[in-house]
Subunit: 359 residues, 2 copies
Amino acid sequence: MAPATPFLAIDLERMQANIARAADAANARGIALRPHAKTHKSIEIGRMQVAAGAHGLTVATVGEAEVFAAAGLDDLFIAYPLWLDPEKAARLSTLAARGAAISIGVDSVDGVERLVHAGLAGRISVRVEVDAGHHRSGCGPASAGVVAAAAMRAGVDVEGVFAFPGHAYAPQAGEQAARDEAAALTIAVESMRTAGISPQVISGGSTPSFSASLDVPSPVTELRPGVTIFGDAQQWELGSIEPGDIALSCHATVVSHAGGRVVLDAGSKVLGPDRAPWATGHGRLLDHPEARIVQLSEHHAIVELHADAALPPLGSVIRVVPNHVCIAVNMVDELLVYDRDGDAEPSARWSVAARGRNH
Amino acid sequence: MAPATPFLAIDLERMQANIARAADAANARGIALRPHAKTHKSIEIGRMQVAAGAHGLTVATVGEAEVFAAAGLDDLFIAYPLWLDPEKAARLSTLAARGAAISIGVDSVDGVERLVHAGLAGRISVRVEVDAGHHRSGCGPASAGVVAAAAMRAGVDVEGVFAFPGHAYAPQAGEQAARDEAAALTIAVESMRTAGISPQVISGGSTPSFSASLDVPSPVTELRPGVTIFGDAQQWELGSIEPGDIALSCHATVVSHAGGRVVLDAGSKVLGPDRAPWATGHGRLLDHPEARIVQLSEHHAIVELHADAALPPLGSVIRVVPNHVCIAVNMVDELLVYDRDGDAEPSARWSVAARGRNH
């Protein structure tokens, strides 16, 4: 019996090729990879990334760190300026006591003091977050030395500096974002060296800036792409992945031809509601590149095909590429694994083990 | 120890008032309520709605129906034009065999035939879905009789007709959507009567059209609001709930003051990424009505307060109202219940039992 739709399917052959391509590209330039595991949240995939040479994983929350560490993937950078309340501090302390190598983000002297107050100095290390133009978290690059010096004085191991050039998420923005990242990290490193601290790790990276970050002059020693492993409709539209390399899709059934259009049973509760202002729709179809999802509800996607195209019949299964794969994966409990394109049956089901681990 | 942020919190006193207010308003007009349980996905809340007089619950998927039926809430309408593949048909058959009263949506003669082919005629009933102007699923209102007649001829119990006036989700659109709903359902009922079928249930409803659907001349005998129970930032901005009645918020911690703004640890992986074109931001703050979330990532919300407002200190906890509460609830495994506003500790944790039941 075919699995009930909607569900998320991995094309294993493509995914492995994406892992290898990123690893080879970074390796050729002597740059370490620490892929962001928030995208897949799956032990099996984290293991494959490390087997392909990744220098540990990046995660976003203490909860994600706990899931991966419990599976032995315990060289982890939590790329987030955590505010260590007693609950989170106790959990990090437990991870450190079990031998996990944990570093966290910090973007203020207050954040450093909080870590020290929590008794974690010398037990976990920090990387100073700097703003490279995305204007989210991160101190100004020239302030990196102040934050790092406060940490060092308090006995906190300063592993390095990092930035997330998230402003790469716009058309033709990848290369400029990589240049901004390089400029911000250069200033940050100088600021730290002036304060007497030599960062071991200089970390950057986002999926749309990934290839540019490898090419432009930059001090980066490590990159942390996440979406690269699967691709999604955003990356397709930004030109950072070819549709033929997209390794995750949502299998959805045509349930209605209402209004002469295609209505699919995949909505925002499996694809995710993400729609960037520059996106051409609410997702793309792997086998109908000209089609657009023009309307999305929680359990309906309305598809408009090319005007001359025949409507796929009721009951047929269509492969949808979510706009933002990190959100789609976080909607489901398992990923169905197809060894290669065209396989009728999945060969495995992988748990999205860190799904919903928001804190 | 305070619960780790971010988490979703229910204000029980407000939620119970919202349940009672909707029940009283419908009751005063002799209209049945069948609240949409996709919003809360929780057994405890479904039970409260039924105790307050709801005539069963509405759900969106077979999986949601299974969860509620297993808890004894087994008078269920699946408001969706299901395409009954063998897997879903077998599960519906099991529900019917266990005594659940299940009706499903159908918007085509093909859908009826599929149900008959699956051996479910006489075991579950159907309601014909008509399009009331939202242009999602649903046949044209004048075609309701054709679909209903095909069902009747095949021995399928036709319980009635339904519409979802989802075009109410726009500023000042609620009343017109309720009028469109009334007009479409009037045509649908006439079309069914012409075909010799008298619908027992004439069902409509969405949260932003809810009060108008009670007020305008309409043939509706039942309404199916979902979000009414909690409210959210969308309903606040559409004027269908007062902020003082909003019963669910996300507790989030200020983790950074980067760029002189407030950075919260609640992002799209707990608030949901929904942002309608008319929304003023990515969510609202319950205690700072003038503030706006101007940027949202997976684990960051960037808040801009009133220009004269002092920045809430690092480590302080802020209550965020998600734009679309149905998506936010589906992101988490449990809801923390606070008996009333101002309580320091939750009195219970309710499982989001039907979370992720997309098929």
